[in-house]
């Protein structure tokens, strides 16, 4: 039995795991579920030696094991198959399986025969027809995953952690993977199966552990529970306190899109946004929401679809500056890469999109700039020493306020906020919600994308559920109960049917 005892792990500003204790029986397939930010990845990284520093203990049959590196964890019998596979595409199957532990003959020469022979053995055990000499880059994702599993088997791993293993598999491949998992189980290997997808968890797991907000909510046996119970454990019920009060007020039509599609990212997305409205886009990571936002903003091209802005049909924006000049602003989920220039000052960051307005004849009017920036800095109470301070030295919440100020300076009417509260503390989150609320009072419309269900439900007037690139269902604020929405999001197939939006 593997016992996780009072494990905690903190990052600056966040407690990722808070006093977590539960047990995994040997030889079972143990499911680990929870929303984004629940602490699943943190636990995986602790178990696999990526995070050597944490509080609490991890015991194997009562004796403490602490892994200080991934290598130690592997020799200790724990293999992890991450969502992003770690195979080397240019090497062969056999070379990948023995990567870093190549068998050698005298003089350190590679022992190809042993490598091929042993590779063939494990491949046969998994009942696949892969050729050890094949280059891994030529294989499907599913088969690359098999190679990773073989790697774990060659290491004689007792525990295999699988992180979202089905995220890029087809339905048929998922079935194949489940057959493989059962085979591993027969061999006595313990599997920790981490996933968002409730249906899969119920198909393959023997017991299920639920995390929420870094806490262990419960561990249940599959036979003694139901999907509804697990979903309600995942979403919890502590969501009244954290949001500013909101009254829905709808004005004229701001934005209306029909049948937006971009190959491989999203298809036939249609929705309307009215003045004074916040529409929430709920979905799991990879559902196509950010891709949709980027295309709408002109950062990527659309394959098809019609867009109406303020009642007039418009061409798709060819560049973000077209969108900004028509009053459509986008706050990216990637604050550091797509939002800020960390080495520049608050002032320089904030005035960037409006330089044209404040610099007639190409010369930036310093006083006008300072005035505008100062007004937003005071309005949002950004904590700083001067507007010339570089933004890198600000806290996450204040950085986010700088970006929001920057977008507000453009005097846009349609705002796309993509994960605006990611990685910032609770107090700053509340302030961001409040800013969004105030914006709608001024008649602006907000498209709000978030992977944290409680906040989507907490401040949106309407909620769109997006899954695998499609809008699958729309809820009004009153209809949207966490369990109902989570059920739609986490479903493996199109349970609700049709393109409801």
């Amino acid at each position: 039995m593997i016992t996780i005892e009072k494990v905690s792990k903190s990052f600056p500003g966040v407690k990722a795991l808070d006093d977590v204790s539960f047990a995994i029986q040997y030889g079972e397939v143990h499911g680990l579920v929870g929303e984004n930010g629940a602490g699943k990845s943190t636990l995986i990284k602790i178990l696999s030696g990526v995070y050597p520093q944490y509080e609490g203990k991890i015991l194997f049959d009562g004796s403490v094991h602490h892994f200080y590196s991934p290598h130690e964890a592997q020799t200790g019998g724990i293999a992890t198959i991450f969502q992003e596979l770690t195979v080397i595409r240019d090497l062969s199957v056999a070379e990948n399986i023995f990567l870093g532990r190549e068998p050698t003959r005298s003089l350190g020469l590679l022992d190809w025969n042993v490598m091929r022979e042993k590779s063939r053995e494990v491949l046969q055990f998994l009942d696949t027809s892969l050729d050890p000499k094949e280059t891994v880059g030529n294989l499907s994702v599913a088969n690359q995953q098999i190679v990773e599993i073989c790697k774990a088997l060659v290491l004689n791993s007792r525990i295999i952690i699988m992180d979202e293993p089905t995220s890029s598999l087809t339905e048929h491949e998922v079935d194949q993977l489940f057959i493989t998992i059962r085979r591993l189980k027969e061999k006595g290997i313990t599997i920790l199966y981490v996933s968002h997808k409730i249906e899969e968890i119920f198909k393959i797991c023997d017991s299920i552990t639920v995390f929420r907000d870094g806490n262990h909510i419960g561990t249940v046996e599959k036979e003694k529970t139901s999907t509804d119970e697990v979903i309600s454990m995942m979403v919890g019920r502590s969501m009244n306190m954290m949001f500013p009060p909101r009254t829905t007020r709808q004005g004229g039509l701001l934005l209306s899109v029909r049948d937006l599609s971009r190959n491989g990212e999203f298809e036939h997305v249609s929705f309307d946004l009215r003045e004074g409205e916040i529409i929430g886009f709920a979905g799991l990571i990879g559902a196509g929401r950010t891709e949709l936002a980027r295309a709408l903003f002109g950062a990527t091209a659309l394959d098809e679809g019609e867009i109406e802005l303020y009642g007039n049909p418009i061409d798709h924006f060819a560049h973000p500056n077209r969108a900004l000049s028509r009053g459509v602003a986008y706050l990216s989920e990637d604050r550091k890469g797509e939002g800020l220039m960390l080495e520049l000052s608050i002032r320089e960051n904030m005035s960037l999109p409006i330089l044209k307005r404040i610099s007639p004849y190409f010369f930036v009017k310093g006083n006008r700039e300072r005035e505008l920036v100062q007004s937003y800095v005071s309005k949002f109470k950004i904590r700083m020493t001067s507007v010339d301070q570089i933004v890198e030295s600000l806290s996450g919440g204040n950085q986010q306020k700088v970006i929001i100020s920057k977008l507000l300076l453009t005097e846009s009417k349609v705002f796309i906020f993509d994960e605006p509260t990611r990685g910032i503390d609770v107090g700053a989150k509340y302030e961001i919600y409040k800013i969004m609320n105030d914006l709608t009072l001024e008649g602006k419309g907000i498209i709000f994308i978030s992977s944290e269900l409680p906040e989507v439900l907490g401040i949106s007037d309407r909620i769109f559920c997006m899954r695998e690139g499609k809008l699958v269902q729309e809820f009004t604020r009153d209809e949207a109960e966490p369990e109902k929405v989570m059920k739609v999001l986490a479903a493996g197939e199109n349970l609700v049917g049709g393109d409801a939006a």
């Binding site: 560049h319 969108a323 960037l352 044209k356």
Partner: protein, 318 residues
């Protein structure tokens, strides 16, 4: 906080010209002048400073263009090749007996065109600027050598010497420094360059026309390389195909020694000026000490590595 901001404007105004990172270089330059003055007879003389100032102008002008390129997060290894192409191909005008204004215009336009080609390729291909300009450097030099067959254009009419005589080169250099200090600090274009170099995607998402401005940066670099070529021709009195050889390394050295981040997004023209002065003084000092010229390349290389190490240490601290 308000009165603090009031006091700050003078200081920040000063800082804008000599951002904090330039102060140490200024000190190094002063120390170096002092050391050479004590160890070398006649180092501290107007005559010698005039020689040094004339020496640093041509590479100095190229370095200003290089500063813009590196600030924008790019690289331009083709500056020396553009210089050579501009004066050699443009110099055919001299052979044909064109009037001087036509020859100069032709040379500068060639610099602009070659710079534009760099910018076009860099903004369209997903290949680092370093690699692309490594390629164009060889292409531009190759074309120059094929067309000129390595032959000098000499003698040339004496009107071409005016631009390279006395303090004229330094006046050009001062003008270029002044204009681009102003451009980087006070104009929309300058601001956008810093933004692009700081985080290109962030700039794009803030509505900055990234491609257009990046292309413009290489055009400016090409133009300044050609301008530097005109002065070089004026100083030497002939046009030679090997002109500008190694300028890219010296220009990059001046830029990074001057405190501009090799990753883009932060730096100043003033710093690059100090970097150029420092290189000029070192080379002059070594020459007067009769040190084997082979040492010069070695010392430039060491300085580059040293400056880049300091720069990347700032990043590692994150």
């Amino acid at each position: 906080m308000n009165d603090l901001a009031g006091k700050g404007t003078i200081i920040t105004g000063f800082r804008n010209v000599f951002k904090v990172r330039e102060a140490p270089i200024l000190i190094y330059v002063v120390i170096m002048i002092a050391v050479f003055s004590f160890t070398i007879d006649r180092f501290f003389s107007m005559k010698n400073f005039e020689i040094i100032s004339r020496q640093i102008t041509t590479i100095g002008i190229v370095s200003v263009g290089m500063t813009l390129v590196i600030l924008s997060g790019g690289f331009d290894l083709s500056v020396g090749a553009i210089l050579s192409f501009a004066i050699n191909i443009g110099g055919l005008g001299i052979v044909f007996g064109w009037p001087i204004w036509m020859v100069y215009t032709f040379m500068l336009v060639l610099g602009i065109i070659l710079g534009w080609i760099n910018g076009f390729l860099i903004t369209r291909l997903a290949v680092p600027a370093l690699i692309i300009t490594l390629g164009t450097m060889n292409i531009y030099r190759g074309i120059t050598m094929v067309i000129t067959k390595g032959v000098y254009i000499t003698p040339i009419p004496s009107v071409y010497s005016f631009i390279g005589s006395g303090y004229v080169p330094f006046l050009f250099y001062a003008a270029v420094l002044g204009i681009f200090t102003f451009v980087t600090l006070k104009t929309r274009f300058g601001r956008n360059i810093f933004a692009i170099g700081g985080a290109e995607e962030s700039a794009l998402y803030s509505g900055v026309p990234v491609r257009r401005y990046k292309t413009l940066v290489y055009i400016i670099s090409g133009f300044l390389s050609a301008l530097s070529g005109l002065i070089l021709v004026g100083k030497s009195g002939f046009v030679q195909p090997q002109a500008g050889l190694g300028y890219e390394l010296n220009a990059i050295a001046a830029v990074v020694i001057g405190g501009t981040s090799i990753f883009g997004g932060s730096g100043t023209i003033a710093g690059t000026f100090l970097g150029s002065v420092m290189l000029g003084i070192i080379l002059a000092g070594l020459t007067m000490l009769a040190v084997n010229p082979y040492w010069q390349g070695l010392i430039t290389g060491v300085l580059i590595v040293f400056a880049i190490t300091l720069d990347s240490l700032r990043y590692l601290k994150r």
